[in-house]
Amino acid sequence: MEINTYTLASLKRGQKGVIKSVDTSDPQVQRLMVLGLVEGAELEYASAAIGGDPIEFRLFGCGISLRREQARSFQVAPVATGD
């Protein structure tokens, strides 16, 4: 992976990020987009299962779990957590 890419998988526990671009080549990623993982959506890293995979995110208040592998297809801009 390139050094400057920051993906959903790079977020830390409690950190938020807004999706900036999606690598749509994988049909599975396209299905995730139907669930609302599109540009502009804000996600928060909520938790993870044992071993840090899969990861649970909060998307508009709802829990959604993704595997680390698929989380890497979503580039994000981290949001400062100050509220």
Binding site: Q30, M33, V34, E39, G40, D53, P54, C62, S65, R67
Partner: protein
């Protein structure tokens, strides 16, 4: 009889208009509270059937208001009209009126989860554009309030083409009155305005519609443009002119270029959703409810996983411990009933049929109803509280290491109740290899039909001792469940490494918040399960009990009968009083054992005995096992019948009779190694015709069910052989 009962006809034969005034489709996201609302609206006026040609359950119910009868069809949960599974395709076909034997619905009841407007509105904008009369039930409004979500209903209604929204709390019933009226009046209401979020698509779709000579509607054309020529769409366009498909291809290229159409659709529609939410929803910092705190704690990796195992241990302990008093009661009642019938009808074939065949056979299965009730209660509670999804998430990594995904956990857990619904539940798994591996692993899970066999043998041969907070019997039962899990996992692993080698399946799962299950919904579901079980006990098991009784009773040997008379006379010369009575009893028992041995069942048992002799089974156990191949729970009924007429009949309970049973030389048949072997055999062997049929249906081949049967039976036999031979050595 009420009027509602008149419409209870097989679902596949329902032609809606004749029986109800209107038919309304209930559509919404998974976990949106759709089924709870449906149960609330229809109560017990429900039917479960199947959609023609597929194995998706069709839930219909009626809503009666005044003299109007409205049929509600609870469609499977879906996120989009872009169908990617059989269930999602059913939703699309149902609302477009393309299902065989039913018209398009007269209206739509859309269910929108107030705590998840984001995904809900995505589906809703597609539904509004269908141009059917529509009403929206905004569910979970109480939970939304607690999470600090404030929704501007008027703004939302305006954004959705003027559709009416009703706030409801399905768990308490608040707001349902107005919703009922709205649903009943729905067929006469005008449809909402099209919102055409994606005007480019709509414009092209209109052109496409003209090309189809208006045979397709606008939504069908939009779906064709986005989804392309899927298998289902190919049948939709089959009757159209030749140029249509070529033109469709050109239009898609112009609209999407190289971008995947589904991704484009998601981007455009969600950008509208994001704008709409910015106007219609205000969020304040959420109130820390007990739910969020519980969720937060259970979300942490280690407490979550430990919690999952604790939950499972408690369930199994409950199944065994809580049910015991009730089971003892039922056992006593059937025993007493049999004795009364025997005494009042006297000797003879008819008395034996009633007491030994029907009462003993059916009673020995009914006795397990309490355990099955408790197990189903737990599974339903776990599902309705949202915990099953969390279990899938927690177990994903472990499941993946054996080549499955977390989604396999739900079919697996359901299979603890019964492999048939469990195997049906594999339809949520998108990957075919993953699905088949799960289907083959599922029958290893300890189903409720295995439970009676386990329970009987454990109660008879495992001492009831306390070990820590658990009982040794509960612990052995837990061990057998674990054994099934391990065997299932090994099977999945084996099959994914050999016949079904392939890339690791993908995984994404919505994790609903914990919610308190609604009592009414839980009871309705529980009642449905009990009905299925009792139906089986009342039909299949009843029939088998009678047939097995006949096989065990006939042919009667006159020779044995006359010998009994002679021996009784001989005894009367030499003995008297209590000794004589005891001798009479002894003679009778020996005689009935001899009668049984030369009966059809006895002969069959003897015939197969050499096959099972290395496992330590006598001809009676062999006969019971043979009789149990169509449905494994039957084995209890057979043992009940076989031992009721054998020489152990002076024991009050079946377990007592098993303990007393001996070989000809007086050695006990049921030794510990033999019992362990028998348990292993039952843990593995696929003795269930229904499971084989559903595997055949779900894999669409005879190969997999045949493989599963041979594979599981072989493992069971070898396992029992090893246990007996090593244990007895």
């Amino acid at each position: 009889m009420t009027k509602a009962s008149e419409i209870r006809i097989p679902a596949n034969r329902i032609t809606v208009k004749r029986h109800a005034d209107a038919s309304i489709a209930v559509v919404g996201n998974p976990n949106s509270g759709k089924s709870t609302l449906f149960n609330r609206l229809t109560g017990l006026r429900q039917r479960i059937g199947n959609y023609p040609g597929v194995t998706v359950e069709r839930h219909t119910g009626t809503l009666k208001l005044g003299d109007k009868l409205t049929e509600l069809v609870d469609l499977p949960g879906t996120h989009s009209l872009s169908a990617h599974s059989t269930e999602e395709q059913i939703v699309v076909d149902a609302i477009l009126g393309r299902l065989q034997g039913s018209d398009a619905p007269d209206g739509i009841l859309a269910v929108l989860d107030a705590t998840n407007l984001y995904q809900g509105l995505f589906l809703l904008q597609q539904l509004v554009d269908l141009q059917l009369p529509m009403v929206v039930a905004l569910t979970m409004t109480d939970a939304a309030e607690k999470s600090g979500i404030d929704i501007d209903i008027d703004m939302l209604s305006e954004a959705l083409g003027g559709v009416r929204l009703y706030r409801v709390v399905a768990t308490t019933g608040a707001g349902l009155g107005k919703l009922r009226t709205a649903i009943t009046e729905l067929p006469d209401s005008p449809p909402p305005q099209r919102i055409s979020v994606w005007s480019e698509l709509t414009d092209v779709a209109k052109r496409l519609r003209r090309l189809s000579d208006d045979k397709l509607n606008l939504t069908e054309c939009e779906r064709l443009l986005v989804d392309g020529m899927t298998d289902r769409n190919a049948t939709v366009t089959a009757g159209l002119n030749d140029g249509f498909v070529a033109e469709l291809r050109t239009m898609r290229e112009q609209l999407f270029g190289d971008d995947p159409p589904i991704a484009t659709e998601a981007r455009i529609r969600y950008s509208w959703v994001q704008e709409t939410l910015a106007k219609a929803q205000r969020s304040t910092p959420p109130f820390q409810s007990w739910r969020t705190q519980v969720t937060g704690f259970l979300n942490r990796p280690v407490p979550g996983t430990v919690g999952l195992f604790l939950v499972m241990a408690v369930v199994f302990q409950a199944v065994f411990a809580w049910a015991t008093p009730v089971m003892n009661g039922i056992d006593f009642a059937t025993g007493a009933l049999g004795a009364v019938v025997s005494a009042s009808l006297g000797d003879g074939a008819f008395s034996s049929l009633i007491a030994d065949g029907i009462i003993a056979g059916v009673g020995s299965v009914i006795v397990f109803l309490p355990q099955i009730l408790i197990l189903f209660l737990f599974i339903i509670l776990l599902e309705d509280s949202g915990y099953l999804a969390r279990a899938a998430y927690l177990m994903d990594r472990a499941m993946r290491s054996v080549g499955l995904s977390g989604q396999s956990i739900i079919p697996m857990i359901s299979s603890f109740a019964c492999a048939v619904p469990g195997i049906m539940a594999t339809r949520v798994i998108p990957n075919r290899r993953d699905r088949i591996a799960t289907i083959l692993a599922a029958p290893f899970m300890t189903c409720s039909a295995r439970l009676p066999v386990y329970a009987l043998l454990i109660a008879a041969f495992v001492p009831s001792q306390r070990i820590g907070f658990m009982n040794l019997q509960g612990l052995v039962l837990f061990g057998l469940y674990m054994f099934g899990i391990v065997m299932g996992i090994l099977t999945a692993l084996l099959i994914r490494k050999t016949a079904l080698r392939g890339p690791k399946p993908p995984f994404a799962l919505m994790l609903p918040e914990f919610r308190r299950p609604n009592l009414q919904t839980v009871l309705i579901q529980l009642l449905g399960r009990v009905k299925v079980f009792l139906n089986r006990a009342g039909t299949v098991i009843f029939t088998v009990a009678v047939v097995v009784w006949a096989l065990a009773y006939y042919p009667r040997s006159d020779l044995i009968g006359s010998e009994v008379v002679q021996q009784r006379q001989a005894a009367a010369y030499t003995l008297s009083g209590a000794e004589l009575a005891a001798q009479y009893e002894n003679i009778d028992h020996l005689a009935s054992a001899a009668q049984l041995e030369q009966s059809w069942l006895g002969r069959a048992g003897h015939f197969v005995e050499p096959v099972f002799a290395p496992l330590g089974w006598d001809w009676r156990v062999s006969a019971a096992v043979i009789a149990g191949f169509p449905a494994r729970e039957v084995v209890i009924a057979v043992l009940g019948t076989v031992y009721a007429v054998g020489d152990e009949a002076d024991e009050d309970t079946l377990s007592g009779r098993l303990k007393a049973s001996t070989w000809a030389d007086g050695r006990p048949v049921f030794t510990l190694p033999m019992v362990i072997g028998l348990l292993i055999f039952y843990a593995c062997c696929l003795q269930c015709a229904a499971t084989l049929a559903v595997i055949r249906r779900e894999t669409n081949s005879w190969g997999w069910p045949v493989f599963a049967w041979v594979y599981m039976t072989t493992i069971g036999y070898v396992g029992a052989l090893l246990a007996f031979q090593i244990g007895s050595a």
